[in-house]
Amino acid sequence: MSAITPAIGGDWLIAGMGAYAISAFTATGAEITRRPRLKNAGITLLTGAMILNGAAIAWMWISAGRAPFKTLYETMFLYPFCIALISLILVRLHRLSLLVPFAAAGALTCLLYALWHPDLEFVLLPPALQSAWFVPHVVTYFVAYAALFISAVLSVLALWKGEGKTPRLTSTVLPFSRASENAAVFGFAALTLGLAMGALWAKSAWGEYWSWDAKENWAFITWLSYLAYHHLRLLGAWRGRRALWVNVACFGAVMFTYLGMHLLPTASSSLHVYQ
């Protein structure tokens, strides 16, 4: 047990926070000074932090004797890992090093939240979650959420770098908006897959695809909002800055689906709500 926090895997949590903080700090410094070697160092440090994060998940998996994706605390280890992974892939594809400090900060925020609301002991897996679908369903969703987070960050960066109030996007902004769209496409595909897997899991466990549970409904609302975004960004009037705003708003729906379920009156009966 860590002397700093009584959380399970407390030492891993503190180490992971340190690693993400150092990479966020280095990458921010690199963007301010515009030194390429420092940028590379930021990317390497984020990769290292991601590997450490992966090791923490592996440790929790072995210690709990099950996939550590049951509680909110546990997903706060999975989510930063996915954020780091997706952002590193995008940085490699689009050469947008500006993403690195934001990804590291996002990952750090997750671990801070975990430190703030720690699990003190492993929760046992109820019968309903003991299925081969559990891991792919949850991991696919978190990959989707990570991609959509990156997409929203890129949208905000594009809005921030955009000049004045011109709805058309300029050449400095275009790489960000393109990368944002690509991340949103990938995130939407993963969201669709996660939703389909959830439906198939429900079918195999209860005989019904859909049971109108609060989280299911909000996941569907989130999916519909991204569907709307992907259509709107192709329409003339909604191109450019408006589409970027829609993307950011859609991520708000993701966050509500992820964290806001306990605010709903129907939450107590849901299988999806984190205790």
């Binding site: 002397a3 009584p6 003190l120 019968p127 003991q130 299925s131 669709t192 198939l200």
Partner: protein, 484 residues
């Protein structure tokens, strides 16, 4: 997409779905569909057994913080991980589980200590008939060791008190304190108060005083000294004024003009006929009877002494028992000692050590009982993590037309497929008659089409977003190459 929707549609139109509830030992060849109609299955499903598998009980240590209204857990660990010192978050204190007892029995015992004010103690073995018993006797009042025999442990110089305890009975005493002077009074006598010189007469004693509102006077409820009251009378100007002094309530009902006296009641002492005693320090065995020390001899550890218990109403015929001195302690403190009765986790308990600086405190803890204090507002508890369901399992037999039975199980996430029907574990209930398991019964011919549709949608998405753009991009570049 078409395949997906058509699959769902087929499932909806041609499929049937419903519910089936079976009590353990019963069977059914039909289920109740959505329209509350019985639908034949074409085979018989029998529920042989229903079982809730539980996760094994886990024993854990919890550190609790005392909040405004409730306790909250601030940290916890499995007892397996508590063999090493564990820091308590936010404090300098550490704790560990020093010993784990699967089937704990905690007994009071005495152990030696260095405190010179602590009383001495002796351990004696008593052979009364077949079974020998061991008992600790601490300096103080006599302790019963076997039926009819009390042994007292005395300190050197305690002989007189021991003799007096077997002496003639002492009657009750009434003591009165006036102006820091205490003196014994008797009924009917007149006394002069020291200091003021006021004269008063002790007129009445009521052992269990109450005020009788019907008779409008003081009375006693019983002969037991539950509320001893002493009535005194003072004559001033030829008029007798009565005042009640209460031993349990000094000053009760006292008026300023009345005599300021404090009353103490000492109940009568009926002595013990005879008493055996051991002096723990000088290792002497003493026998007192009739107010005198009758016997006083050295008794070494391991040495035996026969003691006679006289015949009485309580003890029946007199008998002889043997006492043997086992151990003496000059200064003893009461402590607890634990052992395990078996290796089965029937009644688990732990010995915990809480360490702060150099001081280590020990405590025995059992689940859902007292906790051990750590420091201000923090305490350590040992708890069993309640058994939680791991699986809901129905053991069923399927009997087909030819009467051949196949045994199978149905659980959440593990439905039974048979002859086009799928049985899902959907619930259970227990009542006086036994367990009852409920199933969702679904016949869904469109499921294959739904799977196919979903796979096609997935391929379609990948094709639209990743394969086609690459092809067109490749085509464009080839076109450009061709042009240049």
């Amino acid at each position: 997409m078409v395949a997906l929707l058509s699959g769902a549609l087929i499932g909806n139109m041609f499929g049937t779905r419903g519910n089936l509830e079976l009590r353990v030992g019963t069977d059914s060849c039909s289920f109740i569909d959505e329209d509350k109609l019985a639908q034949p299955l074409g085979f018989t499903l029998k529920l042989d057994k229903f079982d809730i598998e539980k996760y094994p009980t886990e024993y854990r240590m919890y550190v609790f913080a005392e909040g405004d209204k409730r306790y909250s857990v601030i940290q916890t660990a499995s007892i397996k991980d508590c063999r090493e010192w564990i820091p308590v978050s936010g404090t300098e204190t550490r704790y560990r589980v020093a010993e784990y007892y699967p089937d704990i029995q905690i007994e009071d015992t005495l152990k030696a200590c260095n405190d010179p004010s602590a009383p001495s103690a002796v351990r004696v073995k008593v052979l009364d008939g077949k079974a020998p018993s061991e008992k600790w006797v601490m300096a103080g009042p006599p302790t019963g060791v076997v039926k009819g025999l009390q042994i007292q442990c005395i300190e050197p110089g305690g002989h007189d008190a021991l003799a007096a305890a077997t002496g003639s009975p002492t009657p009750e005493k009434h003591l009165i304190t006036i102006d820091h002077n205490t003196f014994e009074v008797r009924l009917g006598q007149t006394y002069t108060a020291p200091g003021s010189g006021r004269k008063f007469t002790v007129v009445e004693f009521l052992p269990d005083f109450y005020y009788d509102f019907q008779k409008k006077g003081a009375a006693t409820r019983s002969a037991a000294p539950n509320n001893p009251a002493l009535g005194i009378e003072e004559t001033t100007a030829g008029k007798a004024e009565r005042e009640w002094l209460f031993a349990n309530m000094p000053g009760h009902g006292h008026k300023p003009e009345q005599l300021d006296a404090v009353y103490k009641y000492i109940p009568p002492v009926s002595p013990i006929e005879q008493l055996w005693a051991i002096d723990g320090k000088t290792q002497e065995l003493i026998f007192a009877s009739g107010g005198k020390i009758v016997l006083s001899q050295s008794l070494k550890a391991g040495q035996q002494q026969q003691v006679s218990i006289p015949a009485s109403e309580e003890n029946g015929n007199g008998r002889i028992v043997t006492i043997e001195l086992q151990e003496t302690l000059d200064h003893a403190v009461m402590s607890k000692v634990a052992r395990t009765l078996s290796q089965e986790p029937k009644n688990p308990g732990v010995l915990v050590e809480v360490k702060r600086g150099d001081s280590v405190r020990q405590a025995y803890l059992v689940p859902d009982a007292d906790s051990a204090p750590i420091e201000d507002g923090l305490s350590l508890a040992f708890k069993a993590r309640s058994e939680q369901p791991k699986a809901y399992k129905s053991y069923v037999s399927v009997v087909n037309d030819e009467g051949a039975a196949t045994q199978s199980t149905i659980a959440v996430n593990a439905p039974l497929k048979y002859n086009g029907y799928t049985f899902y574990q959907s619930g259970y209930r227990s009542d006086k008659k036994g367990d009852c398991s409920s199933f969702r019964v679904v016949n869904d011919p469109g499921l294959g089409a739904v799977y196919a549709g979903l796979i096609m949608v997935a391929i379609g998405v990948i094709y639209t977003y990743y394969v086609r753009p690459r092809q067109t991009a490749g085509g464009n570049s080839r076109l450009k190459e061709g042009l240049s």
